[in-house]
């Protein structure tokens, strides 16, 4: 049992390292080849955890080779369009100018029900509102609504709201974040000054954000805890 425990810890560390090396996005955004690699990694890594008679190298070598190939082919895909098409496919337009492209649906082996379901998940309940719908290579659907059905924006009613910029979390769970602070040209001394002015201690701050206009938001930790 101790052997299984030690193997599990080692393989966990190796898999985490390899997944981080791949620089993966969330599951929902994976390309087909990336999804295959992710599944393979979990299957291959689990073998020596379950069976102590299998040497760990028999698992680590395939893991290293799979991840290395994935990184190299994804790098090559950036340079070679044809390789990218082979590995990832290409997006397919299924609604064009409000009309469903049945041939495109057939190629994707999708039914109209699948299409309507995908649209509903994007809060579109009326196909006539859609100008273009594109099935992306990761299986998600992108929608361009007709102008009359788009959400109103300030530009449409000739308004120019002030750009408040992006808030950056300079303190998370009582810890100062140097990288976020650098984004808004501030440092720990400045943050400490702000907290002192507001009679606060960094350890008691759950979240502190500052945006480009120096607007500050502070959320304290729950005092009961």
């Amino acid at each position: 049992m101790l052997i299984s425990l030690i193997r599990a810890i080692i393989l966990y560390a190796v898999v985490i390292f390899l997944i981080r090396l791949m620089g993966k996005r969330q599951i929902g955004e994976l390309q087909p080849s990336e999804l295959v690699i992710t599944i393979l990694i979990s299957e291959v890594a689990s073998l020596p955890m379950q069976d102590n008679s299998i040497p760990m190298f028999n698992s680590m070598i395939p893991l290293i080779i799979l991840v290395s190939f994935e990184i190299i082919t994804s790098a090559l895909s950036l340079k070679f369009h044809k390789l990218r098409n082979i590995m990832q496919g290409h997006p397919v337009i299924v609604i064009r100018n409000g009309l469903i492209d049945e041939d495109a649906l057939k190629k994707l082996r999708l039914t109209v029900n699948d299409l309507i379901s995908a649209l509903r998940q994007r809060d579109v309940f009326e196909i006539s509102q859609v100008s273009y719908a594109i099935f992306e290579t990761n299986g998600k659907i992108s929608i361009l609504l007709k102008p009359v059905n788009k959400t109103l924006t300030p530009e449409d009613i000739n308004l120019s709201p002030e750009d408040e910029g992006m808030p950056f979390a300079v303190i998370c769970d009582g810890e100062f974040n140097k990288n976020s602070a650098a984004e808004i040209n501030t440092d720990k001394n400045e943050v400490d000054r702000i907290l002192t002015k507001k009679n606060r201690n960094i350890k008691n701050v759950l979240l502190m954000t500052i945006n480009n206009k120096k607007k500050i938001t502070i959320i304290d930790k729950d005092k009961k805890k």
Partner: protein, 126 residues
């Protein structure tokens, strides 16, 4: 770019590592095979003391080889080899030359099986 370089490096390290391990385990298996062959060929001319000495040397070398092989070979493959070499030790105590030779022949067959099963032949890959 950095990740790609790391990937190339890992791939190269894996390939080189595999080559080195293959060379080392092949040489150890060949050394074991030579010892068994020598014992088989010269069993009749050895005295009891000499046979026991040869088999003790074989066992010592096999223990070292086994430790190395267990890192890189599925244990079930090595088990029959280990069992038969231990049996050879028992057989040697009786100083029955024909039995010793039979046991050596069995070990050679198992060695050959283990050796070829690790080679990248089509039947092993598929």
């Amino acid at each position: 770019m950095r990740r790609v370089m790391i990937a190339f490096f890992m791939l190269a390290a894996a390939v080189i590592g595999i080559c080195i391990i293959t060379v080392i385990s092949d040489s150890k298996m060949k050394a074991l095979d030579n010892q068994i062959t020598e014992l088989y060929n010269n069993a009749e001319s050895y005295s009891e003391k000499e046979i026991n000495s040869e088999i003790n040397k074989l066992l010592t070398d096999w223990n070292k080889t086994q430790k190395f092989l267990k890192f890189f070979t599925v244990h079930e493959k090595i088990l029959p080899l280990d069992e038969n070499i231990r049996e050879l030790e028992e057989t040697a105590k009786s100083y029955d030359i024909s039995e010793i030779k039979k046991q050596c022949a069995r070990i050679k067959i198992i060695l050959e099986t283990v050796y070829t099963s690790e080679k990248p032949f089509a039947e092993n890959i598929f």
